[in-house]
């Protein structure tokens, strides 16, 4: 047999199986171009010169790796599906006299043709779109100005290399698969009598427990720092739970339904219950995959979009004014030097500062009980603890209209999450009369941050604070912090640069943060996240579409004969269609519904994670999630409808 023969054979096979291969090739092209675009952008020299470019590079590099990994998984998954469907064809060739090694050569050539086609077109499309995507990214980053864009040779090479490897590995898998099977098995293909699945109680139990635990963690986690690690634990648990319940739980439930005779032996339940047992056995893993991917798409998109859209608000939460500086001094009043330093630098650069506001404070963590607080020594920030900040009342008086005078046993309060409405405040053993509660303190307003509770306690003077603090915490007093913030009349990067570089000579100034600097940082991080989120969302979406399509097709082939039998036994076409439709709808909307339930349970923990990014606008997050869900559901439904047509075509033929 010569090579021209193989080439022709491979080409004919691909043409003949267009229904199977076309979506596969389209998916490959999509994946390749996504990878290529991501790679060209992350390797673009322009990134290094951009401020915040380093964190962006890390995010994009991470994106590259994720896309690479998922590409491999998706290509393998689809490829193995194709092989399963083509068993009969292989068996026929085998029986007609082609040896397994000939089949192997044929399969390799097929894969080679598909891979060259996919990679070449993918890179081509990627090249066309990568510049556009790069501009979109720059726009997302809030970057204006021009940047040159080149397509690095390394990206082309890398794409060809990576996907070449993936496809060759897939081809090797196919060959190995053929090698293991006997022709008669191949000829029978998928038609070996499907066995009734066993009820796996243990796995069902594992599923219920892990899903419950995952949900439990997601709902109850209170500590934002813990939320990060616990979130991943919850994700893993929910994934295990999803797989276990889809595979074992569904069958256990259906078998239970079957055992209830009065329910089972009704014409509407009879066919669907037993049909579903069969369907779930074959499709559980695929459906669980769809479910997990859908959830991933939804979480990624809704959070990244929320973060990006809520960027200014998060910024305001963190920086009420343009610049904030801290100093610490354990011997004297630290307020004196910081304002002077700012003024001198401002003079030097020639900018004007305004709305300056500063206050001294000392803080400690405490736990709330009825109308007082108890000190805690080793607590973390979480929603059951409160940070108590003692401030001399003089610092409050500089920003309110009617000054307050306090006695030693009197306090004024500012609680960030809303008024406490207390007559007296008990701190450990000490009780104070609450003279007044204020709703703002300088530029701090009351916001509903679910994670950080802060209570400002205004006390007579610094000496009194020292006493109160020592009695309350039973710890040595280590001096006051001073926080100083101000706005700039016009934004001035030179000023910020100057003030930052001068800090080396001001040892007591411990920290300086600027809104402008932070904004750039936020933009490059959140913009990068959003970009990545959209990319991964697209990738996962592609995979979901592909899995749905192939599931429909295989369902169609399996149902063809059953459809026939039922008709002969006395079921009308309409009844059959209705029963099949209800099963198909159940099968395909189960993952979407489950994904939505996952999202609902993930909501509390994601809100807490977002709070870590100073994102507290829950309403915006709900809106973003709802919109993402809606868009996703519409696409999902459209894909379902399109593929359902392919299904009915097969069944009716």
């Amino acid at each position: 047999m010569n090579s021209r023969f193989y080439l022709g054979l491979a080409r004919d096979n691909i043409k003949k199986n267009a229904r199977l291969f076309t979506p596969f090739i389209l998916m490959n092209i999509g994946i390749v171009s996504l990878f290529f675009i991501m790679h060209t952008i992350s390797r673009n020299p322009g990134l290094s010169t951009m401020s915040g470019g380093d964190s962006l590079k890390i995010i994009l590099g991470f994106g590259n790796a994720v896309i690479g990994i998922f590409s491999t998984i998706f290509i393998f998954y689809t490829n193995s599906f194709l092989m399963k469907r083509r068993k009969k064809e292989m068996g026929l060739y085998n029986i007609l006299g082609m040896e397994k090694k000939h089949l192997a050569v044929m399969l390799f050539i097929e894969t080679f043709m598909i891979s060259v086609l996919s990679i070449a077109i993918g890179v081509l499309i990627g090249s066309v779109f990568s510049k556009l995507m790069y501009m979109v990214l720059l726009k997302l980053l809030g970057f204006t100005g021009t940047f040159s864009f080149v397509i690095p040779m390394a990206s082309i090479l890398m794409t060809f290399f990576l996907f070449g490897c993936i496809f060759m590995a897939a081809a090797s898998y196919n060959t190995w698969h053929i090698h293991l099977s006997r022709p008669i098995e191949l000829i029978r293909g998928g038609n070996v009598g499907e066995r009734e699945p066993k009820t796996k109680w243990l796995m069902t139990l594992v599923g219920v427990i892990s899903l419950g635990a995952g949900y439990g963690i997601a709902v109850t986690v209170s500590n934002p720092l813990q939320a990060i690690t616990m979130f991943f634990v919850a994700v893993i648990l929910v994934m295990i739970g999803t797989y276990a319940l889809f595979t074992a739980g569904s069958i256990a439930l259906l078998k239970f339904l079957r055992s209830r005779k009065s329910f089972y032996y009704q014409s509407s339940h009879f066919i669907s219950v037993s049909g579903m047992i069969y369907r779930m056995k074959q499709n559980a893993v695929g459906l669980a995959n769809i479910c997990i991917l859908s959830t991933a798409v939804l979480v990624t998109l809704s959070t990244t979009v929320s973060l990006y859209l809520g960027l200014e608000e998060s910024l305001d939460n963190q920086y009420p004014l343009d610049v904030v500086m801290y100093s610490h001094d354990n011997t004297s009043d630290p307020s004196s030097d910081i304002a002077g330093y700012v003024a001198s630098v401002a003079d030097e650069v020639g900018v004007k500062t305004m709305d300056a506001f500063g206050f001294s404070s000392v803080s400690t963590l405490a736990k709330r009980y009825s109308n007082g607080y108890e000190p805690i020594s080793d607590g973390n920030f979480n929603d059951s603890n409160t940070l108590i900040i003692f401030v001399p009342v003089a610092d409050l008086n500089q920003v309110i209209d009617s000054p307050i005078a306090l006695a030693v046993d009197e306090v004024a309060l500012f609680n960030t999450s809303g008024n406490l409405d207390l007559k007296t405040l008990t701190l450990g053993d000490q009780t104070f009369d609450v003279v007044r509660e204020v709703e703002t303190f300088g530029n701090f307003n009351q916001v509903d941050n679910p994670m950080f509770k802060e209570l400002y306690v205004f006390v007579k003077d610094m000496a009194a604070i020292e006493e109160v603090y020592k009695t309350f915490t039973n710890e040595e007093f280590r001096g006051f912090d001073y926080q100083y913030m101000f706005d700039l009349e016009v934004p001035s990067p030179e000023f910020e640069k100057a003030i930052r570089s001068g800090l080396v000579n001001e040892p007591h100034i411990t920290y300086m943060g600027s809104k402008a600097g932070m904004r750039e940082n936020f933009f490059s991080t959140y913009g990068g996240f959003l970009f990545l989120g959209v990319f991964l969302g697209t990738l996962f979406m592609l995979a979901t579409v592909m899995i749905i399509y192939y599931k429909q097709i295989s369902e169609g082939f399996d149902d063809q004969s059953r459809f026939d039998i039922m008709q002969k036994v006395g079921l009308s076409k309409r009844e059959i269609k209705r029963s099949i439709k209800s099963q198909i709808v159940m099968v395909f909307f189960l993952p979407l519904i489950t994904a939505m339930i996952h999202i609902a349970f993930a909501f509390p923990v994601i809100t807490k994670l977002l709070a870590l990014f100073s994102f507290t606008n829950t309403a915006l997050f709900i809106l973003c999630t709802a919109v993402t869900l809606l868009v996703f559901a519409i696409i999902y439904f459209a894909v379902y409808n399109m593929t359902a047509r392919a299904y009915y075509k097969i069944v009716n033929s």
Binding site: Y265, Q266, S267, I565, V569
Partner: protein, 255 residues
């Protein structure tokens, strides 16, 4: 009045693009009395399967009519056909046509469940039939767990459970070994002796020799028929073989 009357059935298939026409049945007329056991024989392509499909109301004739108990198939609406099939006809197929995902019991129940019967009532009906067909011990097994003969007996049980007017069997022994074939044919005779009307399409001489009357179809027409009368099975077998050889040797004379 005859139970089943077939009048001047004609069926012409037109190929997909309206090109060639194929005459599957040219003019078939016969009738079946209640309690009869009729075998229809003919070579491949003689129109047997087309005839059976029309009798099963799965296909419509180009002209002519079929009457069951005096009711013409042509008068039944499309929407009522499935229910009609379910209530009056029982089917046995060559390849059993059991559904993989149902146990044997549920496969047999299928037509009754569709008719909205209760479990207890169905079970009551099943028991005597299952006993008669010797499938009591496999009721809770699945089709892939039992032998071909057992599958075919389960299919017979499914056909009988609705008390059909007539059982239509399409090559019922075609996929069975000789032992299972004998067993099944024996059961068919037994059921027929209890009053069940059976119409069987086959090209197995052995299967046909169990029937009380044999119709031979050739080129879409009833060509000849044989009555068992007082003949022994071996004699009938002999007669059938002779008729068949005449049938084949005369090939083409009816063009």
């Amino acid at each position: 009045m005859s139970l089943l009357v077939v009048n001047n059935l004609k069926k012409i298939y037109t190929t997909r693009f309206g090109g060639n026409q194929v005459m599957a049945l040219s003019n078939v007329t016969f009738s079946v009395e209640e309690g009869e056991y009729v075998a229809i024989m003919g070579e491949s392509g003689s129109g047997k399967t087309t005839l059976l499909n029309i009798l099963a109301s799965l296909d419509k004739p180009t002209s002519g009519e079929v009457l069951l108990n005096g009711q013409s198939f042509n008068q039944i609406k499309e929407s009522g056909l499935s229910a009609f099939r379910r209530q009056h006809l029982g089917f046995v197929f060559q390849d059993f046509n059991l559904l993989d995902n149902f146990s044997i019991r549920d496969n047999i129940f299928l037509p009754l469940v569709l008719a909205g019967k209760h479990y207890e009532a169905m079970n009551e009906k099943l028991m005597p039939i299952a006993k008669k067909l010797e499938i009591m011990d496999i009721l809770d097994k699945f089709p892939y767990e039992v032998s071909g003969g057992q599958k075919q007996r389960a299919a017979v049980a499914r056909a009988l459970i609705t008390d059909p007017k007539i059982v239509l069997a399409d090559e019922p022994t075609g996929a069975l070994d000789s032992k299972a074939t004998d067993h099944l044919l024996h059961l068919f005779s037994k059921i027929n002796n209890e009053g069940q009307t059976i119409l069987m399409v086959t090209h197995s001489t052995r299967a046909a020799s169990h029937a009380k009357r044999i119709l031979f179809i050739k080129d879409g027409e009833v060509y000849h028929q044989l009555y068992r009368g007082g003949m022994s099975q071996d004699t009938l077998h002999q007669k059938i073989s002779e008729t068949l050889s005449v049938l084949t040797s005369e090939g083409g004379s009816h063009e």
